[in-house]
């Protein structure tokens, strides 16, 4: 049923078109309908949604690939360090995951996200296995405040581990145009798992003001020589002036914790930023990881009403909301009418009808048949 006309994405700059549309026309024209016809002419076209075509796929290291994406005309560009939310359909279900852009900001038509295989990363695994050239992804606009400060006189310290190098790689491109004193410390398990090794080496050779330290953390490496895991001694040895630098850190939770602890002890927290994709944007949640306890209390945060209450794991979220004096819409109170649907921003709930635990991320749930089994934030 779908017929496709392939035209360059720039031919339909949806952004400018919708800006040119007079308000009265927007009211008359059914947005859903227009979107349908437009997207059936070409999968990349849209009136309001950034979409991007995969134009190239690059193997970076074992279990790690970069996807080069060409966005449609709605893309408004990005600042190095920012990320995009990628939406894919897996088994009929839309799933979202955030990926930092590792691309060169001077080439706005070639976005790059770098995806690494993770044990339970459903979206990442799906992308690595199924995404082909010419496929189209839904993207958000660039998001996030994890960017280098404007002032070029401020020296930088960049700390990355594993695929945490991606947002920092985008910042290194910035240095080529706008030189500033920068030290990069990059942790990888082994030489094989280094991402962008060649590019970083080239960047360091070209830019006199960039110093790079690469450390291998897996057993078998000469830890004394090659650095090993993050340690405060490394800082005093390699970056004696690290306290005067603006520091940006991106990597797995373990690294971020160690770094955070050290900066806290030194009282330098104001000058450090972290990029953290766990929490609300967690790729996949295995309910088995959190032992749901019926007796333990958890907190339910009704964000829109600015109201937090304790739950004992027996009452439904609808009952809890009402006990807190709120009046969310409801109907059947037995899970059939969907009147009580509300967005859960974070946390895990159990569905009383199916007995199943939800994912931990943002999704719509039925308040009348869900009980919280961890702390939960709701858009109620």
């Amino acid at each position: 049923m779908t017929w496709t006309l392939r035209l360059p994405p720039a031919a339909f700059a949806g952004g400018s078109l919708s800006d040119l549309t007079p308000a009265w026309l927007k009211r008359v024209v059914n947005a859903e309908l227009t979107e349908f016809y437009v997207s059936h002419l070409s999968p990349l076209w849209s009136m309001r949604q950034v979409k991007a075509r995969v134009v190239d796929i690059v193997d970076e290291s074992a279990g790690c690939k970069s996807f080069i994406l060409q966005p449609n005309g709605l893309w408004r560009g990005f600042r190095p360090g920012q990320f995009v939310t990628v939406t894919v359909e897996i088994e009929g279900v839309r799933q979202q995951r955030c990926y930092s852009l590792s691309s060169d900001w001077r080439e706005p038509e070639r976005l790059r996200i770098t995806v690494k295989e993770k044990k339970d990363g459903r979206v990442s695994s799906w992308l690595l296995r199924n995404l082909r050239k010419q496929d189209v992804l839904l993207l958000s606009q660039a998001q996030g405040e994890f960017t280098a400060p404007q002032s070029l006189s401020e020296p930088l310290l960049l700390i990355a581990a594993g695929s945490g190098i991606t947002p920092l790689r985008a910042m290194l491109y910035q240095l080529e145009e706008h030189p500033r004193n920068t030290v990069l410390i990059y942790y990888a398990r082994s030489r094989e798992e280094l991402i962008f090794a060649e590019e970083i080496r080239k960047a360091a050779a070209q830019c006199a003001h960039l110093t790079v330290h690469i450390c291998y953390t897996a057993a078998g490496h000469n830890q004394a020589e090659e650095g090993g895991r993050f340690h405060p001694d490394q800082l005093s040895r390699w970056v004696p002036d690290y306290r005067d630098r603006r520091t940006l850190v991106c990597g797995p939770e373990g690294l971020m914790q160690r770094v955070r602890r050290h900066w806290r002890e030194e009282g330098g927290e104001a000058r450090i930023s972290f990029e953290d994709f766990t929490g609300a944007f967690q790729d996949v949640f295995d309910p088995g990881l959190i032992a749901p306890s019926q007796s333990a209390t958890c907190q339910v945060d009704f964000q829109r009403s600015a109201c937090v209450i304790e739950a004992d794991g027996r009452q439904s979220l609808l009952d809890l909301a009402e006990a807190a004096g709120l009046h969310p819409p409801f109907g059947c109170r037995m899970g059939i009418c969907h009147s009580c649907k509300a967005r859960k921003r974070a946390g895990v709930v159990r569905n009383l009808v199916t007995g199943k635990a939800s994912s931990a991320g943002s999704e719509e749930i039925q308040l009348c048949i869900c009980i919280p089994i961890t702390d939960v934030s709701l858009d109620v």
């Binding site: 309908l33 009929g92 279900v93 839309r94 037995m334 059939i336 009418c337 969907h338």
Partner: protein, 388 residues
């Protein structure tokens, strides 16, 4: 809680009946995936392209055949949109896909009834209180008497006539019905509430009227009267079809009505039983099922209102087997028989009869013999079908 030709269940039987249905639901939920998404997107494609074809044909052709083809395409589009897409998406059947275009709360359909009002009285009131007299306003749509338990009033003598009008203007009936104007007339609705209900109705109705009877005819220039008539015809065809399908769902002779008392503190199993005995299916082919939005499987829809409707034909044999196992009547039949039974009921209860036989059946203890005879008859018929 009993249907005249169904067995009374012990509490243990009722519980295992409930569990079997819950398990069946879970099996489908666990299996939802790409196939379901492709199904609904395919239907949406069909809706959009048949609308496009219909409108283009109506605009460009001046031969009767072309106009008829245009009306046919446009009616088909509206029927599919209202029945298989609108009704089902708004039930939350595709919310699991997390696709905003298939989100039950956001979807707005191509009919004068505003989505929000319909979601409330259909998804909540009708599906929770199915066939409970006084609580399920869908039962007879307030204006039709369908059972001896409804007190007779002289106006009901006209119901065979005004049901014809209702069929022709069904979308308006549905929209006005959601306004609950009768409460405003009897003074039970505050001014403020009335305005709150009228506003979305007027906005939506204005939009629909503007689209079908002003915008598109105007675009046709000299062909305006033809396009207007074509759009009107498509809307009426959709109305009559929807009316016929929907009344077969709950108004056939076999469907039971309930009182509020007997449904108080219902268990989930009892709720399942009421959904079963309050609904009726229509037998047909795949295309017929699709055009009915799978409301041909009203029983499965009422048991599991939020699983994708195109799954109902697949699970119907399993539901039926469970019903047979527990001796529960499963109301189904070909379209003409079911619709004929509805029409008979409309005519019958227009008269001030106090249907002694029906009353007796409703309250009589179930006859085990009858149930066995029924099961035997069905087994015999099934064998015949298997041989044929």
């Amino acid at each position: 809680m009993r249907h005249p030709s169904s067995r009374a269940l012990t509490p243990e039987q009722l519980e295992s009946f409930q569990n079997e249905l819950d398990d069946l639901r879970q099996q489908v939920v666990d299996d939802l995936g790409q196939r379901d998404l492709e199904h609904i997107r395919g239907v949406i494609n069909a809706v959009r392209y048949s609308e496009l074809a219909g409108r283009v044909l109506l605009h460009v052709s001046f031969t009767p055949l072309g106009v008829v083809a245009g009306v046919a395409c446009l009616s088909l589009s509206k029927i599919l949109e209202n029945m298989e897409v609108g009704h089902n998406v708004m039930h939350g059947q595709y919310d699991w896909t997390q696709d905003p275009a298939l989100n039950s709360k956001r979807y707005e359909w191509d009919i004068v009834c505003a989505g929000d009002a319909w979601r409330h009285y259909h998804n909540y009131e009708h599906h929770t209180f199915t066939n409970i007299l006084g609580k399920d306003r869908d039962f007879g749509y307030t204006i039709t008497r369908l059972t001896a338990e409804q007190p007779w009033r002289p106006v009901y003598l006209l119901q065979p006539v005004y049901n014809v009008v209702q069929a022709l203007t069904f979308e308006w009936g549905v929209a006005l019905f959601g306004l609950e104007l009768e409460r405003a007339v009897s003074g039970k609705m505050s001014r403020q509430e009335l305005v709150g209900r009228l506003k979305p109705f007027l906005r939506k109705a204005g939009r629909q009227l503007g689209k079908d009877y002003v915008l598109f005819p105007a675009l046709a220039g000299v062909g305006a009267p033809k396009v207007l008539a074509g759009n009107l015809a498509a809307n009426v065809i959709r109305n009559v079809w929807a009316y016929a399908i929907i009344s077969c769902g709950h108004f056939t002779a076999d469907t039971r009505v309930y009182t509020e008392e007997e449904t108080r503190n219902e268990s989930r199993g009892q709720w399942y039983l009421r959904q079963l005995h309050g609904s009726g299916n229509i037998e047909g082919g795949r295309r017929f099922y699709l055009l009915s939005g799978h409301l041909s499987h009203q029983i499965e829809h009422h048991l599991f209102p939020d699983i994708p409707a195109h799954r109902y034909p697949e699970i119907a044999p399993k539901v039926r087997a469970i019903c047979d196992k527990y001796g529960q009547h499963y109301n189904t039949g070909p379209f003409l028989r079911q619709f004929g039974s509805v029409l008979k009921r409309i005519v019958k209860y227009a008269l001030p009869i106090k249907d002694a036989k029906a009353d007796a059946l409703q309250s009589a203890p179930p006859s085990v013999q009858k149930t066995e005879a029924m099961v035997a008859r069905r087994a015999q018929r099934d064998r015949k079908l298997a041989l044929a």
